[in-house]
């Protein structure tokens, strides 16, 4: 199912969360809580046994693609791609969110760094990914946020397999952490609607490598329909326990040493479970 054992993935998740906390604490800005909610989802994708890429040749034609539509989660993409060997992690820590850095506040497309798409404004990246999937025979995975699905043009993607063309090589990963910037998010019957519009719909624990890995295997087995995977997650997962799953922390990095320590304590507590 994965290229390496789940115990190894778990260690990687811990290291990446630690890097995320450090990165955003040091830089004083960035979307930590969204990034934390996506750690297992992103790792599961790039470490799935079928998922091909080459960190030394980011523009490799035969690569499989992972698009990030909710662009504010780019710190996670940056940390994972350092782990994968696209660039040294120091490059990220030294230049994150600085002028002309490849590690902008929202992703700027750079195949060399493994960044498939420029993003930021919500509801756009998922259409880029879907169009891309129609134009390639490689797998195209796309991470989208739940808040993002309040945008009409995100919702209209659900019709695409039905009234445009099915892209069976496409998998949408919905980060359903139920929190947006200023309010809770309830997408109601979105999974049922997606099924009606010809998606293979799967619902999983978005922090379980086992569940995610199995869902991804099922996604690529369906050669008729694209897949819509509702990943139930916790915003701020593995960070400060008192903040996880709570409103008011979107785009807010740890403030002061006390909050920083709370994040690290949450990280350690999550590790022991």
């Amino acid at each position: 199912m994965f290229k390496i054992p789940i115990e190894e993935l778990t260690k990687k998740a811990y290291n990446i969360r630690k890097n995320l906390i450090e990165l955003m604490y040091r830089s004083g800005s960035g979307h930590l809580d969204t990034s934390l909610s996506l750690v297992e989802i992103w790792i599961s994708t790039v470490y799935s046994d079928f998922f091909k890429f080459d960190p030394n040749n980011g523009a490799w034609e035969e690569r499989d693609r992972i698009f990030l539509s909710e662009g504010h989660a780019c710190p996670l993409q940056y940390c994972v791609n350092a782990e994968l060997g696209y660039y040294p992690i120091d490059d990220l820590f030294n230049t994150f969110r600085q002028p002309e850095s490849p590690f902008q506040g929202h992703t700027k497309r750079s195949l060399k760094h493994g960044f498939e798409n420029s993003n930021g404004s919500l509801s756009i990246g998922l259409w880029h990914a879907y169009g891309h999937a129609l134009a390639t025979d490689r797998y195209v995975f796309c991470v989208a946020g739940d808040g993002e699905f309040q945008e009409p043009s995100s919702q209209s993607l659900l019709f695409a397999p039905f009234n445009m063309k099915p892209a069976p090589n496409f998998t949408l990963l919905l980060n359903y952490n139920r929190l947006a910037q200023d309010n809770m998010v309830d997408l109601g019957p979105i999974a049922d609607v997606a099924a009606l519009y010809n998606w293979q719909v799967l619902q999983v624990d978005g922090h379980s490598f086992q569940a995610l890995g199995e869902a991804f295997q099922q996604a690529i087995k369906d050669t008729e329909r694209p897949s819509f995977i509702v990943c139930n997650t916790t915003k701020g997962k593995g960070g400060a326990i008192e903040f996880a799953g709570k409103l008011g922390h979107h785009g807010v990095p740890p403030k002061g040493e006390e909050e920083y320590k709370a994040y690290l304590a949450g990280l350690e507590a999550g590790r022991q479970k």
């Binding site: 497309r109 404004s121 259409w127 169009g131 209209s156 695409a160 445009m164």
Partner: protein
């Protein structure tokens, strides 16, 4: 002036797309529910597997088109111009992917030339909107023959291109093959007393006006690339005549007038007048009737030249 019949810019574009589809195997065409108006339907008839539509969904169309371009396709996204307002965020996002991809947006139904569908359908701000998106070339072809040359050029070189077309049949007046070089403005007639600069099918009106004004009266410059604008040709003519009139079927804000004014005010301040629409919403009517009402026809150009030159 010799002409070779009439053809709408949108129909010429639709036909040229078929020829382009035979040359470029990776050319794909999208439309957002207007394929019989934009003539992209012709491409679909010949290449059904290379035509996509999400239905009446402009953000979806421009988004998917961008993704296809990112996958290495030559992409042409067609729509009636005014509906592309819906996809402005997606157009901006397309440009933010970088210019190492091949994407063309073809907008039909621009200006009051759209006619009886009325103010809701007259796109009078598209040039302004597209000039604001860094990375997009803004192309304003003059007749159906030039459209064939435009497509040949822009399908050859990667980049982001906006092509302004329109609805009614207009005269074919250029030789074949018609001239088109990206970023080049063309001096079409020589004169001493005033410079007339026009975009799109208004170039024909400018040339007819120049004929009426008599030999040696007006320098006529045809602009088929509004962005990037050929400053040198404009400045040289302004230095010679000392008076400049711009002609466009568009608001005076953000289009040709302000682009030319921006160049001249910096390099060679020159008195200017404009043939363009005021900041208004327009009415239904026949295209020629509307051009008369809003003062964007040949007679208006002649009148303004005479008043301006004195």
């Amino acid at each position: 002036m010799e002409t070779y019949g009439n053809e709408s810019l949108r129909e010429a574009f639709g036909k040229a797309l078929i020829d382009a589809g035979k040359i470029w195997n990776n050319l794909v065409v999208l439309d957002a529910g207007t394929k019989n108006s934009t003539y992209s339907q012709k491409f679909q008839e010949v290449f059904p597997d290379r035509f996509y539509t999400p239905g009446i969904n402009e953000p979806g169309m421009v988004g998917a088109a961008t993704g296809m371009a990112m996958a290495g396709k030559r992409v042409v996204a067609c729509d009636m111009s005014v509906f592309l307002h819906h996809a402005y965020a997606q157009i901006r996002a397309a440009a933010r992917q970088g210019s190492d991809m091949h994407m063309i947006i073809a907008a039909t139904h621009t200006g009051v030339a759209v006619g009886p569908d009325g103010g809701s359908a007259h796109d009078l701000t598209d040039l302004a909107r597209m000039r604001l998106v860094a990375g997009f070339n803004v192309i304003t072809p003059w007749d159906g023959r030039q459209i064939r040359s435009v497509l040949q050029v822009i399908l050859e070189e990667k980049g982001l291109y906006y092509v302004r077309l329109n609805r009614p049949k207009v005269p074919l007046f250029l030789p074949e093959p018609a001239p088109f070089e990206l970023g080049k403005a063309y001096k079409l007639s020589e004169g001493e007393r005033v410079t007339i600069i026009a975009v799109g099918d208004k170039v024909y009106n400018a040339l007819i006006a120049s004929e009426e004004l008599g030999k040696g009266f007006a320098d006529v410059i045809g602009v088929s690339t509004l962005e990037p604008l050929d400053s040198d040709t404009i400045i040289a003519s302004a230095k010679k005549t000392g008076k400049v009139i711009t002609v466009e079927d568009h608001l005076y804000i953000g289009g040709l007038f302000e682009a030319v004014a921006g160049v001249l005010v910096q390099h060679h301040p020159t008195p200017m007048r404009r043939i363009a629409l005021d900041r208004i919403f327009t009415t239904s009517g026949d295209p020629d009737e509307l051009a008369e009402i809003y003062g964007v026809n040949t007679a208006a150009i002649v009148r303004m030249c005479k008043e301006f030159v004195g």
